[in-house]
């Protein structure tokens, strides 16, 4: 049985309000997350409602006939002709919807003029559009984001998540028969983290009896994935190690290079986009095998206590929510900021290339005025001839976070 039979968590009823209000919506997923399946489901449901649908994906644009994709010389110079043809077909109908799977390909290759033109047509109600795409390395900035903004400035977004445990278990049970089918299904859910495509990939490797160790075929697959993701590269391996240790601060506190790297791992479906707010940063046990099985570390108590002190000082000044939002911890509970500080400092000591120094983050977000104020509260003095970052560094020393 196909996992597509099961609920992927996004339905036409979730999409419709956005199409009515904005004329377009994007659905953001990750590798093997069920995007193409979802596209097919949505197309089917739309057609049942008598809506004219044009469904396109990378294959439609890049595979001209049976030509291979990989050879640049054989690829088309522009995908504009295909897009223009699709637009013509959409405009012939009263009620039409363009479902674009692999939308990152459209965004990458369409010309600027055509992107603007599509945006204008959506706004004027000529047709509606559902873009289904992979996450971007930088979801809210960068080149791909700029291209998407050129098409539609504030495209509403739905996130494709892994299947919830109960749904994933139901799906997993369809793969197995026999005495230990339930054990195997549970193994598959734990291993895949509920990622539909990964479930399908890993299903054949389930242990033949309860408690069996991972087999050679599974380990070979693990190694291949490790190579595909270039996890041996120094920065990436450092990142994955600290993630496994549950000691990586939130993404906005990482160095720009590490931010891009973690973005690539999110696309692969390995790392959860909100890893810092979860007890489990990876999307399934499979990724623990791929990352090399690192145990969580306990951050030193003095670091945690000092971080708490800093958080309390920041919250007393009423700046907690602002700073939390700036470091990607919107709606953070008490202690979350402190944990992020402690992780950042711990990383700063063990792998400084992964993080932006905490002093810089404090200086850039709180400014010299508040940093000096906090330092003054702590030490009774603040040399304001120093820069905001130097003051922040002094503040960190003062609270014991050097």
């Amino acid at each position: 049985m196909n996992v597509a039979t099961y609920d992927l968590g996004i339905h036409l009823r979730d999409v419709f309000p956005h199409l009515r209000e904005h004329g377009a919506v994007k659905i953001v997923g990750y590798e093997r997350g069920g995007k193409s399946t979802l596209a097919e489901i949505l197309v089917g449901e739309l057609r049942q409602l008598q809506t004219a649908v044009v469904h396109q994906n990378a294959t439609a644009w890049l595979l001209r006939g049976s030509e291979p994709v990989g050879d640049p010389s054989r690829q088309v110079a522009s995908i504009d002709p295909e897009l223009t043809e699709a637009i013509s077909r959409l405009e012939e109908e009263q009620d039409s919807c363009w479902v674009v799977d692999d939308a990152e390909v459209l965004l990458a290759y369409a010309t600027d003029n055509l992107l603007h033109s599509i945006g204008r047509k959506i706004l004027s109600g000529r047709f509606s559009m559902i873009l289904i795409r992979n996450r971007f390395v930088h979801e809210y900035a960068g080149w791909f984001n700029g291209r998407e903004t050129a098409l539609y400035a504030e495209l509403p977004a739905l996130q494709l998540e892994p299947l919830p445990p109960s749904t994933a278990l139901q799906a997993a049970q369809t793969y197995y028969r026999g005495a230990i089918a339930d054990v195997q299904a549970s193994w598959l859910v734990a291993m895949s983290g509920g990622i539909p495509g990964l479930m399908s990939d890993l299903a054949p490797f389930a242990p033949a009896w309860a408690g069996a160790l991972p087999g050679d075929r599974l380990l070979a697959r693990v190694m291949r994935r490790r190579q595909d993701l270039s996890l041996e590269r120094p920065l990436r391996s450092g990142l994955v190690r600290v993630l496994g240790q549950r000691a990586l601060p939130p993404r906005p506190m990482l160095s720009p290079t590490a931010q891009a790297e973690i973005g690539a791992l999110e696309i692969a479906g390995m790392v959860h986009p909100r890893y810092a707010q979860r007890s489990e940063p990876f999307c399934g046990q499979f990724w623990h095998l791929v990352s090399g099985q690192v145990d969580p570390v306990r951050l030193p108590e003095n670091l945690v206590n000092a971080s708490l002190e800093l958080e309390i000082t920041i919250r007393e000044l009423g700046l907690g929510p602002q700073l939390a939002a700036a470091v990607g911890l919107d709606g953070a509970a008490e202690g979350d900021l402190a944990n992020a500080f402690a992780c950042s400092l711990s990383c700063q000591r063990s792998a400084p290339e992964l993080v932006t120094p905490l002093s810089l983050i404090l200086a850039e977000n709180l400014g010299k005025a508040y940093v000096a104020n906090m330092l003054h509260r702590k030490s009774g003095t603040a040399d304001t001839s120093l820069s905001s970052q130097d003051l922040a560094a002094q503040l960190l020393i003062e609270v014991g976070l050097s």
């Binding site: 890049l62 690829q75 990458a108 720009p256 290079t257 891009a260 977000n365 005025a369 508040y370």
Partner: protein
């Protein structure tokens, strides 16, 4: 009220309502002026500088709170630059013209695209997607950053470890990269220039060297010493000769009237003796190998071919500072005591002024400090003029003095240059203990023993020391 003052008022209100001014060492009784002095001390002269100053002081949280106070609509998740733009635009300050994208952004984009392609190699093609940003990056480097490249030998870009491309960019060797991409020839034949209508290409080696030197000098053109002005003029002459292809070509003197910051650096306005304007875009003297590409200004009148200049060899021998349309201003006489101090040491200036008052009243000396800058005047011009009139320069030396960017970058070099070239006497007064030994000041005469800074003395002893200092100032002034 001027837009910049409105921004300063916003900052003032922010600091006052949150009781942050005193901690920052500002005079809370006159906070607006204290903030303006801080702008002055930090050498803020343009919008970009003002943005940096505000950012340093307030940070993103502070900027958001100001926008909230002003009841402006904003998204707190937006980048600081966008939030600042909203604020400044509300206050009538437009952002400076800037390139649509900076080289480091292009480098980051390349890293991003490389990683995105690696995630979906079957769908996205690196060759197609990276060609344009890579070419654009090279063009920007050539157009806007050749100066930095030349100065630093390389352009530091982010993106190491990101991908092979990022590594390549992080350790950029322009000529190798150009050779690798085989794009040097088209770039030289047809440089990217979206704004201008005229392009001048100089191939003459001497002219290139002159242009390089001109660019070096142009950074501080408003504070050029007579020697530097002469050198500046010589550079101009060499370039004009190369441009006209005539080694004997001798136009009349042409000196700088105004240096204006643009999005890319300084734009110089000069007048010849017939009152004709020449605008020189030395902000982007673009070198590539032996060639120099000069981007024209938006007026397109850099060294305009129709400019007729009257040969007058003598004019080059005695260039004047501050020439104006159709007229020249003679070098002013040196008859002032120029006091240089950090605004954080204002009380020491007041004390010295008080002690010098009897000499001033009896017309024995003329004293200038920046409290005499005229309201609404171009303060930088006033300081330059005062320096040109200085016979004695008194420096109130403290850690604040040595830490002031404006003093160490602008004022002090001019004073030291004037001491060398025009015989200006430097007397420095140790106000507080400082690392003066690490500065050129050490070579000059202290008006008071450095091991006993004024701040460490009792009031009575200090008064006595000031009397001695004033006597020395007067003696040097009369010499």
């Amino acid at each position: 009220m001027k837009p910049i003052l409105m921004v300063v008022r916003d900052v003032q209100r922010y600091l006052e309502t949150r009781h942050l001014a005193e901690i920052l060492g500002f005079d809370t009784n006159d906070l607006a002026n204290a903030l303006l002095r801080s702008l002055h001390d930090d050498g803020v002269t343009d919008t970009a500088g003002l943005m940096r100053w505000v950012d340093e002081l307030l940070g993103k949280a502070g900027i958001c709170l100001v926008l909230k106070d002003l009841q402006l609509e904003f998204n707190p998740n937006d980048a600081k630059e966008i939030l600042l733009k909203i604020w400044f635009s509300y206050r009538g300050i437009d952002a400076l013209p800037q390139p649509g994208v900076w080289p480091n952004e292009l480098a980051e984009n390349l890293t991003e695209i490389a990683l995105q392609v690696a995630a979906s190699p079957a769908k996205l093609d690196a060759f197609r997607l990276m060609g344009d940003p890579l070419t654009a990056l090279l063009r920007y480097i050539l157009l806007f950053y050749a100066y930095e490249l030349r100065r630093n030998g390389r352009l530091a870009l982010q993106g190491e470890d990101g991908s092979q491309v990022a590594e390549l960019l992080g350790d950029l060797n322009l000529s190798e990269l150009c050779a690798h991409l085989k794009c040097d020839a088209p770039l030289r034949a047809s440089p990217y220039d979206p704004a201008s209508n005229q392009m001048i290409i100089l191939s003459d080696e001497a002219a290139c060297a002159s242009l390089s030197r001109l660019a070096d000098l142009a950074g501080e053109v408003s504070l050029l010493s007579p020697d530097q002005t002469r050198e500046f003029s010589d550079c101009l002459l060499a370039i004009l000769r190369a441009w006209h292809g005539d080694n004997q070509y001798t136009p009349k003197a042409c000196t700088v009237a105004e240096a204006k910051e643009t999005g890319f650096g300084s734009k110089l306005t000069c007048y010849d003796e017939m009152g004709r304007t020449i605008i020189i875009g030395v902000e982007s003297p673009l070198t590539y190998g032996k060639d120099v590409l000069v981007r024209t200004t938006d007026k397109g009148n850099i060294w305009a071919p129709e400019l007729q200049v009257v040969p007058d060899a003598d004019a080059w021998k005695t260039p004047e500072i501050g020439s104006r349309k159709g007229r020249t201003v003679k070098m002013p006489a040196r008859d002032q005591v120029f006091i240089s101090y950090s605004h954080k040491d204002f009380k020491w200036l007041e004390e010295l002024q008080t002690q010098l008052e009897p000499y001033v009243r009896n017309a024995k000396i003329k004293v200038w400090d920046d409290t005499k800058i005229r309201a609404g005047a171009n303060w930088r011009y006033d300081i330059t003029q005062a320096l040109e009139s200085a016979k004695v320069a008194v420096l109130l030396v403290s850690p604040n003095f040595l830490a002031s960017k404006f003093i160490t970058d602008k004022e002090l070099p001019s004073i030291l240059e004037a001491a060398k070239s025009a015989g200006v006497t430097i007397l420095w007064v140790p106000v507080r203990s400082s690392s003066f030994e690490e500065t050129p000041i050490e070579a000059y005469q202290a008006a008071h023993p450095p091991e006993r800074p004024l701040a460490s003395m009792t009031t009575a002893a200090r008064d006595k020391a000031f009397v001695e200092i004033c006597k020395q100032i007067q003696q040097e002034y009369r010499r």
